[in-house]
């Protein structure tokens, strides 16, 4: 079912007016946290609510926060020289990952453009609980409107005392900086994002140490996706029980799915976890255009997997998607009807990974190139009748080998998932 939990304010409030936000219950959650006598319960609550990251990795948000709060301070004070002076005194950082560049995903943009104060409030709550004094929003460079609205929102929040020194109480200071990405998909990966904020090439770091121990400027860092943050004010205010009323047992809450491709009414819809994919495509997105049939569905973005038309009844929740070998990923659902050329789509995906691989580790740097070459060889000279090609078994084995090496040996998620979608198309016989 469609259920507006975190998108309730979108389109209803004026995104540049803090008064409007306050009138719709804004900053009540922060007030509650700042007034509380003990704060451990909020993190326990978040853990109990079962919220997991919406950025792709689906890691428990409560656990992440707890780990960051518990992390040992990495540097003795005074902090080392190489940390820029204004960040030197923050014992940890809160980062919002708004570098949304997964093809087919646009939910973060809508949230930031429609309800910027909600994200700012959520970051402030997190900062209070984790004792951070500096936060970053790493915003994708290609989102000028979101940048404008966020800059304005930050300024207004500062003027009204919701950011800066003495936020709602005397001993709490916090401020947020926006950093704009410079056009690199890999900077969405959390450690690459830190490198980028530090002014370096956005190449992922080896993990561990995890960001909760050594993240930005080697300090404990809580990094979450925009949508993850958007859930936090509700959970803080209403508690875990209320949150668990929605969704399924293992995946509570809601999820924003971005439907695009051959649907009649493409767009972003907030659904309760467990809603069948069929309902999303046929009811919310208005189904296919007349006289077209469904060929495949790409779920989870470029790193996701293809679903066959007969898998359309799967409930959209982490556990049920896992069970059929799919992932929720970034929430992107690309619908392919019978006019789409599968080979062309696969070539696009392979080219995307070839272009976006940062080149730091060999399996992915070489593997993504070989993967594209193998696919190009398979399709060579058959541009007219691509759907009926015979694939030579050797080529297919080579493709699978390449995929396996990338999955097992790559440093970061990009390489590890670069072959998922392509191999799933072969496995499910979508291109024979």
């Amino acid at each position: 079912m469609e259920l507006k939990l975190i998108t309730a304010n979108l389109g209803k409030i004026n995104p540049s007016s803090i008064d409007d936000y306050l009138a719709h219950g804004g900053y009540r959650a922060l007030q509650r946290v700042c007034d509380a006598t003990e704060t451990v319960s909020f993190t326990h609550d978040l853990k109990a609510a079962g919220l997991v990251g919406r950025g792709g990795a689906a890691f428990s948000t409560g656990l992440k926060r707890e780990m960051a709060i518990r992390a040992e301070p990495t540097h003795p004070y005074p902090a080392p020289e190489w940390i820029p002076e204004r960040y030197r005194y923050s014992s940890s950082f809160v980062v919002c990952n708004a570098d949304e560049s997964e093809p087919g995903t646009f939910k973060d943009r809508l949230l930031l453009e429609g309800d910027p104060f909600c994200i700012i409030e959520a970051m402030t709550i997190t900062a209070f609980l984790a004792c951070a004094t500096v936060g970053f929003i790493y915003l994708r460079g290609e989102y000028p409107l979101a940048y404008e609205r966020l800059t304005h929102a930050l300024r207004v929040a500062r003027e009204r005392g919701y950011l800066g020194k003495r936020i709602l109480r005397d001993d709490f200071a916090f401020d947020i900086e926006i950093r704009r990405g410079a056009g690199a998909y890999i900077c969405g990966e959390e450690t690459a994002l830190f490198e980028s904020i530090e002014g370096k090439r956005g190449e992922p770091r080896a993990k561990p140490p995890f960001p909760t121990d050594k993240g930005l400027f080697q300090r404990p860092t809580i990094i979450n996706n925009v949508e993850t943050f958007a859930n936090i004010p509700f959970i803080t205010l209403e508690g875990a029980q209320a949150y668990r009323r929605y969704g399924t047992k293992q995946s509570p809450g809601t999820r924003i799915v971005c439907v695009s491709g051959a649907a009649q009414k493409p767009g972003a819809y907030e659904i309760e976890m467990g809603t069948p994919l069929r309902y999303v495509i046929e009811e919310l997105a208005g189904g296919l255009k007349p006289e077209r049939t469904l060929q495949a569905i790409l779920i989870g973005g470029a790193a996701g997997v293809f679903l066959k038309p007969d898998e359309i009844d799967v409930p959209l929740a982490f556990e049920s998607l896992d069970a059929i070998g799919a992932t929720f990923g970034s929430g992107a659902i690309v619908v392919l009807d019978d006019t789409a050329k599968m080979w062309g789509v696969l070539l696009r995906l392979a080219r995307f990974f070839r272009n976006e691989s940062c080149g730091k580790c060999l399996p992915c740097q070489i593997g993504t190139q070989r993967q594209l070459e193998i696919l190009e060889r398979m399709t060579q000279g058959r541009s007219r009748k691509l759907e009926q090609t015979d694939i030579s078994p050797e080529e297919l084995r080579l493709l699978r080998d390449t995929g396996a090496v990338m999955r097992d040996a790559s440093l970061c998620g990009l390489g590890q998932t670069a072959s998922n979608a392509i191999l799933s198309a072969f496995d499910k016989k979508l291109i024979l």
Binding site: W82, P84, E100, S101, E102, P103, G104, T105, F106, D108, R109, R140, G141, E142, Y143, P144, R179, R180, G181, A182, G183, A184, Y185, S196, I197, E198, G199, K200, R201, G202, C258, V259, S260, G261, A262, P266, G267, A268, L298, A302, A332, V334, L336, D337, A340, G344, V345, R348, L349, F352, N355, E356, C358
Partner: protein
């Protein structure tokens, strides 16, 4: 000894440190705000590009020196991110989305139509300096697929014909602007 008759040897003579002079004032104002902060490198490069339209070599050398970074670090960063270019782009930066959603809605035909219309390839500019063509992986406007972005304006639900029409419109718009400037 064989010498190329036209080769100007003077050109290769050492003429002193080209960076001996202080940075030009416009660069100075950009660098002033960030001196000594190597985490600001990307911001500095962005500001330089906003000012000059691209990243001139000399300016990068100044940046390295003034921020106290090796030149390799500056170039390493500048070449890593897609946003930065090293030659002047056209007045209209035309970017065609080639993401999955746009692809299945026909962005391939659009890029072909634009290549024909402008007679350039991807990552090239027209000789009159008006248009540059680029492809991107997704613009985050997939519900409007296929998407075309010119500078910061997004055009949704394009077709090859309407994309070509937009180019015509921009050309006319530019001619009007030019006429106004001259007047």
């Amino acid at each position: 000894m064989l010498r190329h008759p036209k080769k100007k040897h003077r050109q290769y003579l050492y003429q002193g440190d080209p960076l001996a002079a202080p940075p030009p004032p416009e660069l100075e104002t950009i660098l002033e705000r960030h001196r000594g902060r190597d985490d600001a490198l990307i911001t500095v490069l962005e500001e330089i590009q906003n000012h000059y339209g691209y990243l001139p070599q000399r300016q990068l050398q100044y940046t390295a020196r003034e921020l106290g970074l090796p030149l390799s670090r500056v170039y390493g960063v500048a070449t890593f991110y897609n946003l930065f270019h090293f030659t002047a782009p056209g007045r209209y930066m035309v970017r065609v989305c080639r993401g999955t959603a746009c692809h299945v809605n026909g962005s391939r035909q659009i890029i072909h139509a634009l290549k024909d219309k402008l007679a350039i390839n991807e990552d090239e500019s027209t000789p009159d300096g008006l248009f540059s063509l680029q492809t991107v992986a997704c613009m985050g406007a997939c519900s409007l697929a296929p998407v075309l972005v010119v500078n910061d304006n997004t055009y949704g639900r394009m077709s090859p014909e309407s994309a070509v029409d937009e180019m015509e419109k921009l050309k006319r718009e530019n001619a009007i602007l030019d006429a106004e400037v001259r007047a």
